[in-house]
């Protein structure tokens, strides 16, 4: 078996409240290897999104250990973590989060811009990604003129732009109708497979979860 790309050991997180700290996650162990797909399900408020934020270090855990590509990251500087995250991870969120001032192509290219310089090859690659998600005729369309499904496809292309090792998808079909959700999910799973990218999928939908290699269920703060 491959070495894990991302590994979490005994992650714990509690949030303060007037009645005392509320433990959301306790002693969570998680790992994902290259080209693997893992789904995480759980009831609303179970802490699925919190777990994703801890795994991607968008939020710091209270305790535990986190390794990216076998390297501990909790003690690294914000700058180093940010740079590593941009190379290692691609994000797809429920609400797409496209920049309204940028067209579809520019939204995909922003991921590359943030990592460093931009070349003509990058533009070709972004156009290719948009073509693969079926938006070759909507390259210059602004997000406001795109449907929900189209916006999420732009977000998927953006997530893949930097050739990340892992795509982290937080309820990527939560804002889409059933038919569009299936299309987008098929596209996401297919692209991850083609690109050899690992996938961490947080979803409520059991049928989408069943399409991944491994299905986990988050309950009472543990997987």
């Amino acid at each position: 078996m491959n070495d894990p790309l991302l590994e979490a050991r005994s992650l714990a997180k509690a949030f303060p409240s007037p009645e005392g700290p509320i433990t959301v996650l306790s002693q969570v162990d998680f790992s994902i290897s290259a080209q693997e797909s893992v789904s995480i399900r759980g009831e609303s408020g179970a802490g699925k999104s919190t777990l994703l934020y801890l795994l991607t270090l968008l939020e710091a855990p209270d305790s535990g250990e986190l390794l990216w590509r076998g390297e501990p990251v909790l003690n690294k500087s914000i700058r180093a973590v940010n740079r590593l995250r941009a190379k290692l991870l691609g994000f797809v969120f429920q609400s797409f989060y496209l920049m309204p001032e940028l067209n579809a192509l520019e939204n995909v290219l922003i991921a590359k811009r943030m990592l460093g310089g931009l070349s003509s090859a990058d533009k070709t690659k972004a156009e290719g990604l948009l073509k693969r998600v079926g938006l070759e005729k909507r390259l210059n369309a602004l997000p406001t003129t795109l449907s929900g499904g189209e916006r999420q496809r732009v977000a998927i292309a953006r997530a893949l732009m930097n050739n990340p090792d892992i795509i982290v998808a937080d309820e990527p079909t939560g804002n889409l109708d059933e038919h569009t959700a299936e299309q987008v999910m098929d596209m996401l799973l297919g692209l991850c497979k083609e690109e050899g990218t690992a996938l961490i999928l947080v979803t409520h939908n059991p049928s989408f979860a069943s399409c991944t290699n491994r299905q986990l269920f988050l309950q009472h703060g543990a997987l």
Binding site: Y53, S95, Y97, A111
Partner: protein, 409 residues
């Protein structure tokens, strides 16, 4: 191009649009502020410059004065003229008289002028509307335009002049007989303070009217280079006897110059509020943008953006607005100043006030003086104010925790 700058530019000038409404209003705000400041300051400078040059033209660069009437004025003027920086020097006397023409009395300032053929301290010929300086002798006067108008004096008019000396003699039961003098010229300098109430005569007539014998009130000096006025005054003071001092025109008109400077500063301060209002508009618009884009800011963090880069993406917008607004403001200001006279004449024609403009302001063209110090000050202020307007929203954006930003509704 660094991505924060790219994103800042894109937020101001989004794809598919020339510019965002927020960018347009913010740029116009800064532009108007800069434009008004440049126009007001340049016109105030123009007026100031004009008035200063009038003061110098009419009052000379340096005056040597004593606490009392002193003799040897001609000799002192001759001695001072030897200095290489001095273009002309002449003794003078001045005071107040009562002037009567028909039944109309007036109390003008009377000043002696040099009528010799050599270099003149005061270039009266330049300001003469009627008559000639060469016609001035001990039996004649040149009057200012305001005085001529108020008393109805014309060339050739004979006026009666009473002096304080005559009043002294009246106390000794002497019969008071005025001195009859012919008006041989009318002058106008454009400086109302002088034009309203001044009479010019020869030094010998002034000495006679005031009973000065050979005495004078001072020596007026004109320099080749106005910028050396302080240095020359210091040099003269070092060689003058005790009790006799050289004063620059800036010292003699200190109060007037102070008010002139104060007026300019006040105008600058008032007009500065336009820039401050514009900066608040930038700050509030950027703040709204930060709140509206909270989740996008979270995404930028997730994609590798550091707090400093995210702050730059918002803070740079204030700077860019400042650069564009200031550039347009400077260009707009210069353009309006270039066509200022056409604009004023058009306005005067529309409001039918051309005559009033000439009568009260004594100019047909608006004076303008471009001061690079003012330009640097205005541009720097506009840039600082616009950039500062983006600092707080940028700070707020950088303080957002990615997880909280992504969760925000």
């Amino acid at each position: 191009m660094p991505w924060p700058l790219y994103l800042a530019l894109k937020q101001l000038f989004p794809t598919g649009k020339r510019c965002s409404f927020y960018a347009a209003t913010s740029v116009v705000g800064v532009m108007l502020g800069v434009m008004v400041l440049i126009i007001v300051q340049s016109v105030m400078n123009g007026f100031g410059h004009e008035i200063r040059s009038k003061i110098v033209d009419v009052n000379s660069h340096i005056r040597i004065e004593a606490n009392q009437v002193f003799s040897g004025g001609e000799m002192l003027a001759e001695q001072v003229s030897q200095e290489p920086e001095v273009a002309a020097a002449s003794p003078y006397a001045q005071g107040m008289v009562m002037l009567q023409y028909g039944a109309h009395p007036a109390f003008p300032i009377i000043r002696s002028v040099d009528t010799s053929a050599g270099p003149q301290v005061l270039d009266i010929d330049e300001y003469l509307m009627m008559g000639q300086l060469s016609d001035l002798d001990d039996e004649s006067l040149i009057v200012s335009s305001g005085l001529a108008n108020s008393l109805g004096i014309a060339l050739g008019s004979v006026v009666d002049v009473y002096t304080p000396l005559m009043l002294e003699r009246m106390k000794e039961d002497e019969i008071l007989l005025p001195r009859e003098l012919e008006v041989v010229g009318v002058f106008e300098t454009g400086w109302n303070q002088v034009d309203a109430n001044t009479v010019l005569c020869t030094l010998s007539l002034m000495q006679e009217l005031y009973g000065l014998d050979e005495g004078v009130h001072g020596v007026a000096i004109r320099l080749h280079d106005e910028d050396k006025v302080v240095a020359v005054a210091d040099k003269l003071n070092a060689m003058l006897p005790p009790g006799v001092n050289a004063h620059t025109w800036m010292e003699l008109d200190r109060d007037f110059l102070f008010i002139l400077g104060l007026e300019k500063s006040m105008m600058f301060f008032i007009m500065l509020f336009i820039l401050l209002v514009a900066s608040f508009s930038i700050a509030s618009s950027l703040m709204i943008a930060v709140l509206r884009k909270t989740r996008e800011i979270g995404l930028l963090s997730a994609m590798g953006g550091t707090p400093r880069q995210i702050a730059a993406a918002f803070g740079l917008q204030g700077f860019i607005i400042g650069v564009i607004g200031t550039t347009l403001g400077v260009l707009g200001g210069l353009l309006l100043l270039y066509y200022r006279n056409e604009i004023i004449h058009l306005f005067a024609r529309i409001t039918n006030s051309e005559a009033a403009l000439l009568r009260y302001y004594q100019f047909s063209n608006l004076p303008v003086y471009y001061s690079w110090v003012d330009f640097v000050l205005i541009i720097s202020l506009a840039m600082v104010v616009s950039t500062l307007a983006g600092v707080f929203p940028a700070w707020r954006a950088s303080r957002l925790k990615p997880s909280k930003a992504l969760r925000s509704e």
